[in-house]
C-alpha cells in the first residue's frame, strides 16, 4: 500500500512542471495566441533559475528569476506576434529553437555545478497520516502552488469580469475591439503571464526536480504541455488531470520495469504519451463540446482597423 502512495506522490511531483506550463499556455490560448515556444521559454527560465539559485542559494529568488525570464522572452514573442503580426506558429517555433540554443550557450559555465541538498519537503504532522500522508503531504510547495494556480485560473476565467473579457478577446477580437477593449494589450498581458508560468515550471525543473543544469534539461516537457492544453480542451482542471496522468504513467512504467514486468521497456516508455492522449481524447470526444471550448480566434492575427 505504501508503494502505491509513493507512486502517486511521485506522479504528482512529476506532473507539476508540466501542469504549470500547461496552465500558462492555457492562458495564452484563451486569449487567442498560440505560443509554440513553450519549450524555449522553459529552457531559458531553467538556466536562469539555476544560475540564481546557485549564486544566491535562495529558491524563492530562483523561481522569481525564472518567471521573469519566461515573461521577458514571452513579451518579445508577444510584440512580434501581436504588433508586427508575424505568423504565430513560425514565431513560436523560432522562440523554441532560440531558447534551446540560448540556454545552452548561457548555461555552459553552470554544467556540473551543484546546489545545496534540500532534503525531502513535507507538511509536518499531516505527512504522518497513513497512505494519504506520503501521497499528498510530502510534496514540494510548488506542487501545491500548481493546485492554487489552477483554482485561481478557474475563478479568474469563469467568475471575474476580467476573465470574461480575456475569453471574449480569444473568441472574437473584432467584437471586443468594437466594444472598446484594448485587444492587443490584453493579449500581451495573457502572453506575458503565460510566459511567467512556463518560466516557473522551467525553474522548478532545474532547481528542484533534477536539480542541475544541463543542455536540453526540459527534454520536451514544453511540447507535452502544449499538447496537453489542446487535448484538455482548454479547461484548467483537465490540464492538471492530464499532467498528473502523464507523470503518473511515467513513474508507473519505471515501477513496472522494476517489478520485472515482461514488456519491452521501449513500449513502456511510450505509455505516458499514449495513455494521456487516449484519456483526454475520450473525455473530449464530443465534437460540439470541442468547438464550444476552443477559442475561435486561436492562432489568427488581429488587425485593428481592418
Amino acid at each position: 500500500m505504501n508503494e502505491l502512495a509513493l507512486l502517486l506522490a511521485a506522479a504528482i511531483a512529476s506532473g507539476t512542471p508540466v501542469a504549470l506550463a500547461g496552465l500558462g499556455l492555457l492562458l495564452n490560448e484563451r486569449a487567442g495566441v498560440l505560443n509554440l515556444g513553450a519549450e524555449g521559454l522553459m529552457l531559458m527560465a531553467a538556466v536562469t533559475g539555476f544560475a540564481v539559485a546557485f549564486n544566491t542559494g535562495s529558491d524563492g529568488w530562483a523561481f522569481a528569476a525564472g518567471a521573469a525570464a519566461g515573461a521577458l522572452a514571452a513579451a518579445v514573442f508577444g510584440w512580434l506576434v501581436i504588433w508586427l503580426n508575424t505568423n504565430q506558429y513560425a514565431t513560436g517555433l523560432a522562440l523554441s529553437l532560440f531558447g534551446a540554443g540560448f540556454s545552452a550557450f548561457v548555461g555552459v559555465g553552470l554544467v556540473g555545478k551543484k546546489l545545496e541538498d534540500r532534503g525531502l519537503s513535507e507538511v509536518p504532522g499531516l505527512a504522518e497520516i497513513p497512505f494519504v500522508g506520503p501521497m499528498l503531504f510530502q510534496q514540494h510547495p510548488m506542487a501545491y502552488m500548481a493546485l492554487v494556480v489552477m483554482g485561481g485560473m478557474v475563478w479568474f476565467l469563469y467568475r471575474t469580469r476580467a476573465g470574461l473579457v480575456l475569453r471574449s478577446v480569444g473568441e472574437s477580437p473584432e467584437s471586443a475591439h468594437a466594444l472598446g477593449y484594448p485587444v492587443r494589450l490584453i493579449r500581451l498581458a495573457a502572453v506575458v503571464a503565460g510566459g511567467a508560468l512556463c518560466g516557473v515550471a522551467g525553474a522548478f525543473l532545474s532547481v528542484v526536480y533534477a536539480p542541475m543544469w544541463v543542455e536540453g534539461l526540459v527534454a520536451g516537457r514544453g511540447w507535452i504541455a502544449l499538447a496537453l492544453t489542446t487535448f484538455a480542451t482548454w479547461r484548467p482542471a483537465r490540464v492538471l488531470l492530464g499532467a498528473y496522468l502523464f507523470g503518473g504513467v511515467t513513474m508507473l512504467q519505471f515501477h513496472l520495469q522494476g517489478e520485472g514486468v515482461q514488456v519491452a521497456s521501449q513500449l513502456l516508455a511510450m505509455l505516458p504519451y499514449l495513455s494521456t492522449i487516449l484519456v483526454l481524447v475520450l473525455i473530449s470526444r464530443n465534437a460540439i463540446w470541442l468547438r464550444v471550448n476552443m477559442p475561435a480566434s486561436l492562432g489568427r492575427p488581429f488587425h485593428p482597423g481592418h
Binding site: 508503494e3 509513493l6 507512486l7 511521485a10 512529476s14 504588433w83 508586427l84 503580426n85 555552459v108 554544467v111 556540473g112 551543484k114 541538498d117 534540500r118 532534503g119 525531502l120 525543473l205 526536480y209 533534477a210 536539480p211 542541475m212 544541463v214 543542455e215 536540453g216 534539461l217 527534454a219 511515467t250 513513474m251 519505471f254 515501477h255 520495469q257 522494476g258 517489478e259 520485472g260 514486468v261 515482461q262 514488456v263 519491452a264 521497456s265 521501449q266 516508455a269 488587425h303
Partner: protein
C-alpha cells in the same frame, strides 16, 4: 501592420541577411587561408585529432572523463598535436555527418566515444582510408577503424561487494541506459559481487533508454527507491541518481568520474575511468606508424578503470575484500565471471570453476540469478 512599418521590417530583414552572408563567407575565407599558411610555416605540422562526445563535457560523467583523456594527450604532446571536440552529438545520422565533417577538416585520427556511433563511423571510415577511426565500446572494425573498451564490469563487481555489505533491505537498484551487452555485463557483475558477501540480495533494473537525461534518471532512481532499493548503481552519465539517493537518505555510487561532491552522505564509491593512457598510446602509434586494427580492452590491470573514494562508513572487511580483488585483477589471477554462473531462468551459463573469457563476456544476453525481470528486446 502599416505599409511603412512593413517596408522597414523587410529592409531590416534584407540587411541582416546580407550581413550574415558576408560574415559567414568571411569566416569561410579565413579557414581556407589557415591550412594554406600552415605548411609554409614550421614543420612538422601538428597532428589533428578529434573527439566526439554523446553528452556535454560538463556532465561530470562519461564525456567529462573522455575529455580529461584528451587533455592528457594535449599535455603529453604539446604543440605536436591539435585537438578538437564536438559534444552532444546524437547517435545516428547526425553522427555520420559530424564524423565526415571532421575527417574532411584534416583530422588524422577521430575518436567516437559512444556505442551508438558504431555504424556511422564504419560508413565514414570506408570513405576516408587515410584517416584512422577509433570507436569506444563497440564491436565492428575496418582496416582503418578499430575499437577500444574498458572493463567496467570489474568496477561494478567491486561496487557490488560494497553494496551487498551496506544494504539493509537486500534490494539493490540499477538505472540502466540501453539493454546492450556492456550494460547487462555490468548489472550481472554488480549482482554477483553483492551475492559474494550477501547471498540474499536481489537487483531491480529500470531502463531509461538514454545515456543522459537527468530528470528521467531522477525519476527512475526515485521509482527504485520507492520499490525498496536502498543502494543504487547506474549506467547513465549524470549525477542525478546519486543526488536522488542523497535526497532520500539512501546510498549510490558515482559513475565514470568522482561524484563524491554530489552526494556526500549517499556516495559509497565512484567507478572511474581514466582514458588518458589509452589515448596517448593511440597517438604514439599513429605518429610511429604502428597503428593497426585491433581490439583493445583494458581494465584495472592497465589502470584504465578503478573504484575509488570509498566512503568511510563502509566496514573494514568490505574495503579489504575490494583491495584483494583489485590485487587479483592487477596480477590477472582474479576473474569476475567465475563459474558456477546461473541465469535467472535457472539455466547454467558457466560451469563450476570455469573462468569466462572475452568472448563469453561479450555475448552476455541474460540476467544472472538474483536480477528481477526479463531483458527488453532490441538495442
Amino acid at each position: 501592420m502599416t505599409l511603412r512599418s512593413k517596408r522597414t521590417l523587410i529592409q531590416l530583414a534584407a540587411l541582416s541577411l546580407v550581413s550574415t552572408t558576408l560574415a559567414l563567407s568571411g569566416c569561410g575565407k579565413k579557414e581556407e587561408a589557415k591550412p594554406a599558411a600552415a605548411p609554409a610555416a614550421a614543420k612538422p605540422e601538428p597532428i589533428k585529432a578529434a573527439w566526439i562526445y554523446v553528452g556535454p563535457v560538463g556532465d561530470a560523467g562519461w564525456s567529462y572523463a573522455h575529455d580529461l583523456g584528451r587533455k592528457a594527450v594535449e599535455a603529453k604532446f604539446g604543440d605536436g598535436v591539435k585537438t578538437s571536440i564536438v559534444e552532444k552529438v546524437p547517435e545516428g545520422a547526425d553522427a555520420e555527418r559530424v564524423i565526415r565533417d571532421l575527417a574532411q577538416q584534416g583530422n588524422k585520427i577521430i575518436f567516437a566515444t559512444s556505442f551508438g556511433y558504431m555504424d556511422a563511423m564504419l560508413k565514414v571510415a570506408g570513405e576516408f582510408p587515410d584517416v584512422k577511426f577509433e570507436h569506444a565500446t563497440g564491436y565492428k572494425t575496418a582496416p582503418n577503424m578499430r575499437i577500444y573498451d574498458a572493463s567496467f564490469y570489474q568496477d561494478t563487481y567491486m561496487a557490488g561487494v560494497i553494496a551487498g555489505t551496506m544494504t539493509k533491505t537486500n534490494t539493490l537498484g540499477f538505472v540502466g541506459s540501453f539493454p546492450i551487452p556492456e550494460v547487462l555485463r555490468n548489472i550481472n557483475a554488480f549482482t554477483l559481487g553483492a551475492q559474494s558477501v550477501n547471498p540474499k540480495i536481489k537487483t531491480k533494473v529500470v531502463w531509461v533508454n538514454t545515456w543522459f537525461d537527468p530528470p528521467k534518471e531522477s525519476e527512475a532512481a526515485q521509482s527504485l527507491i520507492n520499490q525498496g532499493a536502498d543502494v543504487l548503481l547506474q549506467n547513465t552519465d549524470s549525477t542525478a541518481v546519486l543526488q536522488t539517493a542523497e535526497k532520500n537518505g539512501k546510498y549510490a555510487f558515482g559513475w565514470d568520474s568522482d561524484m563524491s561532491a554530489f552526494g556526500p552522505k549517499a556516495h559509497l564509491a565512484s567507478a572511474v575511468v581514466n582514458w588518458g593512457p589509452y589515448y596517448i598510446k593511440a597517438m604514439e602509434e599513429l605518429k610511429a606508424g604502428t597503428w593497426k586494427t585491433e581490439r583493445t580492452v583494458w581494465g584495472v590491470k592497465e589502470g584504465l578503470n578503478d573504484l575509488i573514494k570509498i566512503n568511510d562508513v563502509v566496514p573494514e572487511a568490505a574495503k579489504k575484500k575490494v583491495e584483494t580483488i583489485k590485487a587479483g585483477l592487477k596480477d590477472g589471477s582474479f576473474e569476475v565471471f567465475t563459474g558456477p554462473v546461473v541465469d535467472n531462468t535457472g539455466k547454467e551459463r558457466l560451469p563450476k570453476d570455469a573462468k569466462a573469457d572475452q568472448a563469453w563476456r561479450d555475448k552476455i544476453d541474460f540476467y544472472v540469478k538474483g536480477v528481477e525481470g526479463k531483458i527488453p528486446s532490441g538495442k
